[in-house]
């Protein structure tokens, strides 16, 4: 099926099998390998992207469902090489180690701060509850999001 989608401001048109998941479409068809896959049951959130302003797990959406949508992924956060406030805070507070969950975390944090610019710690933890990290124990991720919110 024909899919027209805009990702990080750039539009793409591809012929796609209906069975192809959006995450595979981003990684394999569009070579946007920033978003990752960490599970096969929709639990881990490493594939989180923002579709038409809504934070979703792109492993539980078919590519054909994104036809006509506007998708934001981690590759679109920095503006011509300049890290945004959130990306800076993650680095400053050591909010990442291996970096595999980081793209998903950044997209969840981005969606959280857009909806709630000054979240409490509980609200931050709720905002990233759908993103599993195995390296950091979430401590510095929460600190980084708190710092980015100020």
């Amino acid at each position: 099926m024909d899919v027209n989608v805009t990702v990080n401001g750039e539009s793409y048109e591809r012929d796609v099998e209906p069975r192809k998941l959006l995450i595979h479409f981003l990684r394999d068809d569009l070579d946007l390998t920033g978003s990752h896959i960490g599970c096969d049951t929709g639990n881990c959130g490493a594939c989180s992207v923002i579709v038409d302003g809504v934070l979703v797990k792109s492993c539980m959406m078919l590519a054909v469902q994104a036809d006509g949508s506007n998708v934001e992924t981690v590759e679109g956060l920095a503006q011509d090489g300049e890290l945004n406030g959130l990306q800076q805070a993650f680095s400053e507070h050591h909010g990442l180690q291996c970096g595999y969950c980081t793209p998903g975390m950044l997209m969840s944090a981005t969606a959280l701060l857009r909806a709630n610019p000054h979240p409490s710690e509980e609200e931050i933890r709720t905002g990233i509850q759908g993103n599993i990290c195995r390296c950091t124990g979430y401590v510095n991720i929460v600190e980084a999001i708190k710092a980015a919110a100020e």
């Binding site: 209906p18 192809k20 049951t41 959130g45 979703v56 797990k57 539980m60 959406m61 078919l62 054909v64």
Partner: protein, 267 residues
């Protein structure tokens, strides 16, 4: 992680959706996809065709009638319900949706999808039964309404059969409701859950203890009465890696009492 070949259609109207679902017995409705797509990834069960309901505006929206009845479109997401002023007429709806999975799942998962997939650990089937909601179904031969306690038939099986669609759910007015659960980690999958609704006696619905929610009506709402009513139901819950049948049966009593207590407290 890699699905089988499947056909896909995104109809513009409910009638067209019903036609697509009736023509092809291997067709299934695709709502939020937060359960169905995961089952397809495991290839444990694979529909031959998916009928995507996301374009059906008629299935969106939440309406608050003058008498306080809240009518929820099947394609309303958990996040939309949590944010809806109309749904606040029956606060338990938003409170329970807020405990389901995580932000991403709540942003796409739908009320209709939750009740139609009817996974025994889901939150909404027991809630709808305790609230005495009415499920509105449309099929090739017109519309019909089914009370929640007759809607859930088996695991992943409801009164909305092949070729039929759940369009909306209407929840009668009321305030004194409660919901309690024991979950795997915070807001994790339910090991057992119970919903209670009190006006006069109590309507209690237990989840995770059978293929479908178990409805228990008790005259009095005090702890002992509720506990006795649950014991009388002689539950035969499944056992799994998280709980033995005995443990689940015991938890069912505890969450029933807690749910009823919460409902009582809000009178």
């Amino acid at each position: 992680m890699l699905l089988r070949e499947v056909e896909y259609a995104r109809p513009a109207s409910v009638q067209e959706a019903v036609r697509l679902l009736s023509d092809h017995d291997g067709a299934r409705a695709l709502a939020g996809g937060q359960t169905l797509i995961n089952v397809m990834k495991a290839r444990a069960a694979s529909p031959d065709a998916l009928v995507d309901l996301s374009a059906l505006a008629e299935l969106k929206g939440i309406d608050l009638a003058a008498d306080g009845t809240v009518t929820i479109g099947a394609m309303v997401t958990y996040t939309e319900l949590m944010a809806s002023a109309e749904a606040r007429a029956r606060p338990i709806l938003g409170d329970v949706c807020a405990q389901i999975a995580d932000v991403q799942v709540r942003n796409r998962g739908t009320i209709g999808g939750n009740v139609c997939s009817n996974d025994p650990t889901n939150h909404l089937p027991p809630l709808m039964v305790s609230l005495g909601a009415t499920m509105h179904i449309v099929g090739a031969n017109g519309e019909r309404s089914v009370p929640a306690e007759e809607f859930f038939l088996g695991v992943y099986m409801t009164a909305a059969g092949p070729g039929e669609l759940l369009t909306k759910i209407s929840v009668p007015p009321g305030k004194s409701d409660g919901f309690a659960s024991v979950t795997i980690g915070r807001d994790g999958t339910c090991i057992v859950n119970a919903a209670a609704s009190v006006n006069g006696g109590v309507r209690l619905a237990l989840g995770c203890v059978d293929a479908v929610p178990v409805l228990i009506k008790a005259g009095a709402t005090d702890d002992d009465a509720v506990r006795a009513a649950v014991r009388e139901a002689n539950l035969q819950p499944p056992s799994d890696v998280h709980a033995s049948a005995d443990y689940r049966r015991h938890l069912a009593e505890v969450v029933a009492v807690r749910a009823a207590g919460e409902a009582r407290g809000k009178r």
